[in-house]
Symmetry: C2
Subunit: 326 residues, 2 copies
């Protein structure tokens, strides 16, 4: 008896709201306390089609189910009129391995749990009165990260830069319909961040898009674009010189995140141990110490987030009696 | 548009037959020729419930789809009246990452492709006139390996040993209904193999069940039980002293298979390179050289087999218009 949920049903169950924040926070806390089994990511690269499929999975002690998640990015898809992202989550019974549910979310739950992690990073690391956010990128995460951020900070101004100024304008046009904020397009990242309290980077860039000298004091950066060896949004000197560096999971950011590039450049020693996001959630004193500090959250995406959001979606769908049983 | 198939439909599509042999052989050939992307296995261990979930995946060059497979073994399940094994396969489009099908096979396709790999090992490595098989174990694979073996060898006698003589008798009773063969129960593995041409080991044992000195000359062994670090069915001296050792995939057998234990005991150097099953299929001279040789196939189960059988099942289901589209 497996409950099959399609993406429409899943979107109906899971919308951005403050309830998601403690759910994802709890996942990070368990991860940080070692109360999880989270193996390294499995990745299938299909170079011929500029595609990759990642599998993440994590069991969280005490929970009666856990998720295995397949997330794909096939970057020729837009030329074929298809979205790049795809995927599903599978929810297994922790005690028996029985497959409780297949959530055919096409990547939606990954997008949501990624954006909520960004909001959590800003909640614990940015200055509380932050009102101006700079966003690099104009895709789904540029949209969702902003939406999630508004759950935790009273944002007034949104500065946007992307590689394609046309896409920046389309982003602003679309977002303006739902958010009564002061949007502004920028043609360079130096000006973009000059007055920003928070910077969110959301691109699959392989070369740094922002350098340390451009950053104003007091800024918090959430870098969520880099989730693969070759991806890199921040100049490694930012990791080297920032006052607080917080990985979602250091075992991953050393390989996949911004930290990877700082270690490769020898600006960070590879045996340095940082407080991860779960530790900062448990004890916020481990985050920013001063108003002028520059903080960085390096988010690569973790299996515990997938387990948390798959369980949440399933519980609501089950209650609403959505989906079909196979 | 994802095709959801349940286990009844899948069993209806995939039955033991000779057609499966070249399909799985082709998968091994591609693997051997390096025409695949097959990352290391992802494994979630849930010690509290004596459970494990493995994820395997492999892309085979030139094929328009590839599988990600979740296979679970939860070994307290029989006490709860549930089978230990569980799982599903997901078939993704190689070019776009779109999820073509979810095959809720509950582990059936894994069982079939594992048994077919055993048959392939015996086809290329056992003496052609082999007629007596010794089987260690009395579970699903003990049944399926025999069924698959009859596709490639004219088996007349089946010697059976398992840890529980009652289960051995139940196995023989059940198998006798479908196979007109001379079954015999044994209470020790020395006598079991004395006159055997082929030995198939199918248990999750953590300690060797058979030693080198018990083996008759000319025997071929297919060891398929060990698929995890701690599992071990053959005394490492068998790997050390046999004339032909053939892994399904050496990168895996060095960690998970019988080879693992031989390397740990230093009886095999860890830089020794063996011809794998794919190479033997391509050039059978790489297998057994003499009638009296002792050969061993060490099967840990590979993602390419999953991709091959998931594609096969999907093609038939699609033709028969089975399943539901979500």
């Amino acid at each position: 008896m497996t409950l099959i949920l399609n993406s429409t049903e899943i979107k109906d169950c899971v919308k951005f709201n403050k309830d998601l924040i403690p759910i994802i926070e709890d996942a990070f806390k368990s991860l940080s306390l070692g109360k999880t089994v989270m193996p390294p990511i499995l990745r299938v690269d299909i170079e011929k089609y500029h595609g990759e499929s990642d599998v993440k999975a994590a069991y969280i002690e005490g929970l009666d189910s856990f998720a295995v998640k397949v997330a794909s990015g096939f970057f020729n898809n837009p030329k074929l009129g298809l979205p790049s992202s795809n995927g599903l989550m599978i929810l297994l019974d922790s005690q028996t391995g029985v497959i409780k549910s297949v959530l055919l979310d096409k990547g939606y739950l990954t997008d949501v749990r990624t954006a909520i992690a960004g909001a959590i990073a800003s909640k614990y690391l940015s200055n509380p009165e932050s009102s101006t956010v700079a966003i690099i990128g104009a895709g789904i995460q540029a949209r969702m990260q902003l939406e999630a951020l508004t759950l935790v900070r009273d944002i007034k101004n949104v500065n946007v830069w992307s590689r394609d100024i046309e896409k920046t304008h389309v982003y602003i046009e679309n977002m303006s319909k739902n958010f009564n904020l002061n949007f502004q397009a920028f043609d360079n990242t130096d000006d973009l961040v000059k007055n920003a309290d928070i910077l969110i980077t959301t691109t699959p860039s392989k070369n740094p898009l922002i350098k340390y000298s451009s950053l104003p004091r007091g800024i918090h950066i959430t870098a969520m674009g880099s989730d693969a060896e070759e991806k890199n949004e921040l100049d490694p000197e930012i990791i080297e010189n920032c006052d607080v560096y917080v990985p979602d999971n250091q075992a991953q950011t050393m390989i996949l995140g911004e930290l990877n590039h700082a270690i490769k450049r020898d600006s960070i020693k590879n045996d340095t141990i940082f407080n991860d996001l779960g530790k900062v959630i448990i004890n916020s004193k481990l985050g920013r110490k001063n108003h002028e500090d520059i903080s960085v959250a390096d988010l690569t995406g973790t299996g515990v987030q997938d387990t948390a959001i798959a369980r949440y979606a399933y519980a609501i769908a089950d209650k609403k009696k959505l989906g079909i049983i196979v």
